[in-house]
């Protein structure tokens, strides 16, 4: 077993349109590792949605991508308001994004559902007023 690789990113809220840059970098790195393109695609969509979520709801946070020989974990950690009702938030189309966010074409209520769809396992740890950590795993084989 070789040491897992870690890619660490600060997801910055300052420029809304630049959200998604971490997933682009991760995608390039994964291509260099020679991972199959379906794995890369799943990961980049799951991570992109997570990044956008952090920017919309939590004023940014950190993203860590851990690559092992068997799987890739994405850990998205923010210090936002927390999710009051996780089951409700997981429903397709449910969104608490502001009208302003909607006008930018985001907030369709597909963020968390897509993260679940494109990852193989997903876990949400959230506490109101403290923050949320989403961990997603994608198996390589």
């Amino acid at each position: 077993m070789s040491e897992p690789l870690v890619f660490h990113f600060e997801v910055d809220v300052s420029d809304f349109t630049s959200a998604g840059t971490a997933s682009v970098t991760v995608k390039k790195n994964l291509r260099q590792l020679g991972l199959p393109s379906d794995v890369i695609r799943k990961l980049s969509i799951a991570m992109y949605e997570g990044e956008i979520n952090m920017v919309i709801h939590a004023e940014g946070g950190t993203a860590d991508v851990i690559v092992t020989e068997e799987y890739i974990d994405i850990i998205l950690k923010d210090h936002g308001p927390g999710i009051p009702d996780v089951d409700l938030a997981m429903q397709e189309g449910y969104s608490t994004a502001t009208a302003q966010i909607h006008s930018l074409g985001f907030g369709a209520g597909m963020g968390l559902p897509n993260m679940k769809r494109y990852s193989d396992e997903m876990k949400i740890d959230t506490e109101l007023g403290v923050g949320t950590t989403v961990t997603m795993r994608i198996w390589i084989r």
């Binding site: 070789s2 040491e3 690789l5 998604g20 997933s23 682009v24 995608k27 390039k28 790195n29 291509r31 260099q32 590792l33 020679g34 991972l35 393109s37 379906d38 890369i40 695609r41 980049s44 969509i45 992109y48 690559v67 020989e69 897509n114």
Partner: protein
């Protein structure tokens, strides 16, 4: 490895080793070695960015020469619609086409004509069930090569329609065969008048399993002054042109997409913008758009580096050329149920993992960790003084070469580490 023959070449005598092209190459294909730029042929996509940005004119595109057509007995010119935007005070395309005859061609077949047919059949293509959303245009050869090198997951999105240059070549050949049966196939030379080096490379290398029907590619800039010499306002010209507004406007960004006659489209031009759009498509972010037109050159084909005129001026001139024309002059065969086979290609070129570190995943992991370790010892200013476009690329080059450390001209002034 892919033996792709490129048209972008460097004149080492003119190259000063400045880092301009290094920083603008979208695929990080350039390094400065021993005082001048070196292009990694496996990564080059012939976009022409380095030609466009070089302050010393040290980069150029090598296209064919008009004289080389002497080997053919019957010569057909295929002018790209972007040629029409190169001339001042021009509102009649026939003067240009007549000029082509005067400089030695026996016949002219407009690519704009083929473009209108491609548009007509693309509309039909898009009515079929189960086509991917969005569909990506196949007209720009740089985009196709970019997708096959960097975006393998988007290959299914590419429209499997041949670009207008190929359709034009095929139709021109058939026309000559019918009207001049006295010439054998190999005596007929089909010559594309090109705005860009990527078309030169595409014709030389073919595309996937598809073999180009074009024999020679000549630069617009190469024949421009010859054309000017023979194009006189007092000339009595015949009516040769047979294209509408749609075909001509393919030369500018958005022209192909508007011809789809569907408002759910997107058109992006300039390689940097194109990359951003491709990333968005990969993220599944613009699936509501039905058609995506991508042009590597700013402004579309009129922005090609083998043109003469500023792309925005050229685009404005195209409008004055096409203003009094019908929407289109060429239409899909109404008796055909679907799309003629001659308009389609089967397969994209197979994906070449140019960026992969090693065929062995575990080894790639080790190399990546090593790249990160070395990168963290570098200042992170991406100055290019070492010859690589970024500190990250410098670290990667070292690891690929099996080195454990790198030299950095500025390591001392930054304390040797950014952490």
């Amino acid at each position: 490895m892919d033996q792709y023959e490129h048209s972008v070449q460097l004149d080492p005598k003119k190259c000063t080793g400045c880092t301009t092209c290094l920083h603008h190459c979208p695929t990080e294909a350039i390094r400065i070695r021993e005082g001048h730029a070196v292009i990694n042929q496996d990564r080059c996509i012939d976009c022409g960015e380095c030609i466009r940005k070089c302050p010393h004119n040290a980069k150029r595109a090598v296209a064919g020469k008009l004289e080389s057509l002497q080997r053919f007995r019957y010569k057909v010119a295929l002018p790209a619609p972007s040629l029409y935007g190169q001339f001042n005070n021009m509102d009649d395309v026939d003067y240009i086409l007549d000029g082509l005859i005067k400089i030695g061609f026996d016949e002219v077949f407009e690519v704009a004509k083929a473009a209108e047919l491609v548009s007509a059949y693309t509309r039909r293509y898009m009515q079929a069930e189960g086509i991917p959303k969005p569909l990506i245009s196949s007209a720009c050869p740089v985009i196709l090569r970019l997708i096959s090198l960097m975006y393998p997951s988007l290959e299914d999105h590419v429209l499997h329609m041949l670009p207008p240059i190929e359709v034009a070549a095929d139709l021109a050949r058939k026309k000559v065969k019918k009207e001049h049966p006295e010439f054998r196939d190999e005596e007929v030379g089909i010559c594309f008048i090109s705005p860009c080096p990527a078309k030169v490379s595409y014709v030389r290398n073919n595309f996937g399993s598809y073999k180009s029907k074009v024999d020679e590619v000549v630069a617009i800039s190469d024949i421009y002054f010859r054309l000017l010499d023979v194009m006189k306002p007092e000339n009595q010209v015949q009516t040769i042109s047979d294209t509408g507004m749609t075909g001509i406007e393919w030369a500018g960004s958005g022209g192909e997409a508007t011809a789809i006659l569907n408002e759910d489209y997107l058109a992006a031009d300039g390689i940097e913008n194109v990359n951003k759009v491709l990333e968005e498509i990969e993220n599944g972010n613009i699936s509501h758009v039905k058609f995506v037109e991508l042009n590597a050159c700013p402004g579309g084909c009129v922005g090609g580096v083998l043109t003469v005129q500023n792309p925005f001026i050229a685009k404005a001139r195209l409008r004055s050329v096409s203003r009094c024309l019908p929407m289109a002059a060429n239409f899909a065969d109404p008796d055909e149920e679907y799309i003629p086979e001659d308009f389609l290609f089967d397969e994209m070129p197979s994906y070449v993992p140019v960026s992969r570190l090693s065929p062995n995943f575990r080894e790639s992991m080790r190399m990546m960790a090593e790249i990160q370790r070395i990168r963290d010892t570098l200042p992170g200013i991406d100055c290019g003084a070492c010859g690589a476009p970024t500190c990250r690329a410098h670290a990667e080059d070292a690891v690929r070469a099996g080195l454990r450390t790198v030299t950095c001209p500025f390591a001392d002034s930054f304390g040797g580490s950014r952490k």
